[in-house]
């Protein structure tokens, strides 16, 4: 009974934390998209040096745990550069840079799965490479990427819990705070898990709608 009461009393406070989590995740996903899409294009169409640099970036961000990245940037690089970012901004940035590495590989796969002939047809109509990529390749690649992107959302959402170590007042930090005062650890962490579950479900559901809406009539990916 005490457990339920503790959850009930903490709920507004935890829901407020959801807002931080959500903004952080949406920001990170957006940054990941803004960086990942051009990176994918560079990796498919770029010259050797561009491909190698992007490969290096991906290798680094995929190879290091998010927690280590957070410390590395927040206490390391950002301090060194005297950036003076808030923990919230720093965490969003790091999660976004990390997600960019994964998202670039999602988009790269999607671009490479498209029939090459469409690019050639666009070139034959007098489109520059850039125009062919932006009007013909990417609109299709992004559509194909939605299912994998929805998967990436659910991963970033849960990765965002590590921002708690920097003191970002997101779901995890707030749950930890309430739990350590009320000693109702189990029910409160179950509640936190429930909140992550709901956010995952909502996001995946929204992206599924987007996928259906963006679907090309008659075109099925098997």
């Amino acid at each position: 009974m005490n457990g339920l009461l503790a959850i009930w009393e903490a709920l507004p406070y935890l829901l407020h934390g959801c807002l931080y989590t959500l903004i952080m995740v949406i920001g990170a996903m957006a940054l990941g998209l803004a960086m990942g899409a051009p990176m994918a294009v560079g990796q498919v169409y770029g010259n050797r040096y561009l491909r190698a640099s992007i490969g290096l970036y991906v290798w680094f961000f995929r190879g290091v745990p998010v927690l280590v990245l957070l410390f590395l940037f927040y206490f390391g690089l950002f301090t060194l550069l005297d950036l003076n970012l808030s923990a919230f901004k720093a965490a969003t940035l790091v999660l976004g840079m990390s997600s960019a590495a994964y998202q670039s590989q999602i988009f790269r796969g999607a671009i490479q799965s498209l029939p090459r002939g469409q690019f050639r047809a666009a070139s034959a109509l007098g489109m520059s490479d850039f125009k062919a990529i932006s009007t013909i390749v990417m609109p299709q690649a992004l559509r194909l990427s939605i299912p994998a992107w929805s998967n990436e959302y659910s991963i970033v959402l849960k990765d965002s819990a590590v921002a708690f170590v920097l003191g970002v007042t997101e779901i995890m930090a707030r749950t930890h705070f309430v739990a350590s005062r009320t000693y109702e650890h189990l029910p409160l962490y179950v509640a936190a898990g429930g909140l992550y579950y709901i956010l995952t479900w909502l996001g995946v559901k929204a992206l599924l709608r987007l996928e259906r809406k963006a679907r090309i009539p008659g075109y099925h990916v098997h």
């Binding site: 469409q118 050639r120 047809a121 034959a124 090309i216 009539p217 008659g218 075109y219």
Partner: protein
């Protein structure tokens, strides 16, 4: 400036080597305004590579190309794009843009390359779709069209750019037999309307009735060229005739 009677398209000494194999060996030809030139010969002979080398979709190792008497310098990107705008390309496997409906497939280059206003592009695209008999399919996506319809959309897409010459790379080879006719009839209308075309094809009967000239390609070289009537005449001892006799045999076998 070249005179009215100069060739629309002239190609000289195109060479292309791929993987140590000489795909094209010093290929030269020209096509005059309003002519239909057919490119025949066994598969793997270099027909498709030649067509794609002409508009530099496959960069040739050497060779020169003239359009309306002026040579194409591909070093300057803008010149290359402007050249390609004037050369319509039809592919064997259509290459329609899958995320755009038929109308948008035809209008996209008008809008994005020629910078036309949306309504103007739309109107022109509708006119071109009507020309290939697909006005009622304007809102359908490629996946909702038959092969023959896809190829007709791709022809409309090329026509919308007002090309000076069209290159057709076996436009009916990927089609079911019963769909070949509708595409050939569109091409026939174009030929009669005076469109300058170079077409790789195995449709000998069609070529015989419409083509002005034949280029017979084998092993990367043009081994025979001339008016189609001469190369196919009953007493001609030509590769072209031997090859088309083989094709006829094949079709008769299939037909029985």
């Amino acid at each position: 400036m070249s005179g009215q009677n100069g060739p629309v398209l002239r190609v000289e000494n195109i060479c292309k080597e791929l993987g140590g194999k000489q795909i094209l060996n010093r290929v030269s030809f020209s096509v005059n305004k309003g002519e239909l030139l057919v490119l025949v010969g066994p598969s793997g002979g270099g027909k498709s590579t030649l067509l794609q080398c002409i508009n530099f979709l496959i960069p040739p190792d050497s060779g020169r190309v003239w359009l309306d008497g002026s040579e194409i310098k591909i070093g300057k990107k803008q010149d290359l794009y402007s050249f390609r705008r004037q050369v319509g390309m039809i592919f064997q496997d259509f290459n329609l843009f899958d995320h755009l409906n038929a109308l948008e497939n035809v209008s996209i280059a008008l809008r994005k390359v020629k910078k036309w206003k949306r309504d103007d592009a739309r109107e022109r695209a509708m006119a071109e779709l009507a020309r290939v008999g697909l006005a009622d399919k304007a809102n359908l996506y490629p996946a909702e069209l038959s092969g023959g319809q896809k190829q007709r959309v791709s022809i409309a897409r090329a026509l919308a750019m007002d090309p000076k010459v069209m290159l057709l790379d076996e436009p009916t080879s990927a089609l079911d037999p019963e769909l070949i006719g509708e595409v050939l009839s569109v091409i026939r209308d174009l030929a009669k309307g005076g469109m300058t075309m170079v077409m790789a094809t195995h449709q000998i009967a069609f070529s015989r009735s419409l083509a002005d000239g034949v280029l017979f390609m084998e092993d990367g070289e043009i081994v025979e060229q001339g008016p189609i009537g001469e190369l196919l005449s009953a007493d001609a001892q030509t590769r072209t005739r031997a090859f088309s006799a083989k094709l006829n045999e094949l079709y008769e076998e299939n037909g029985s």
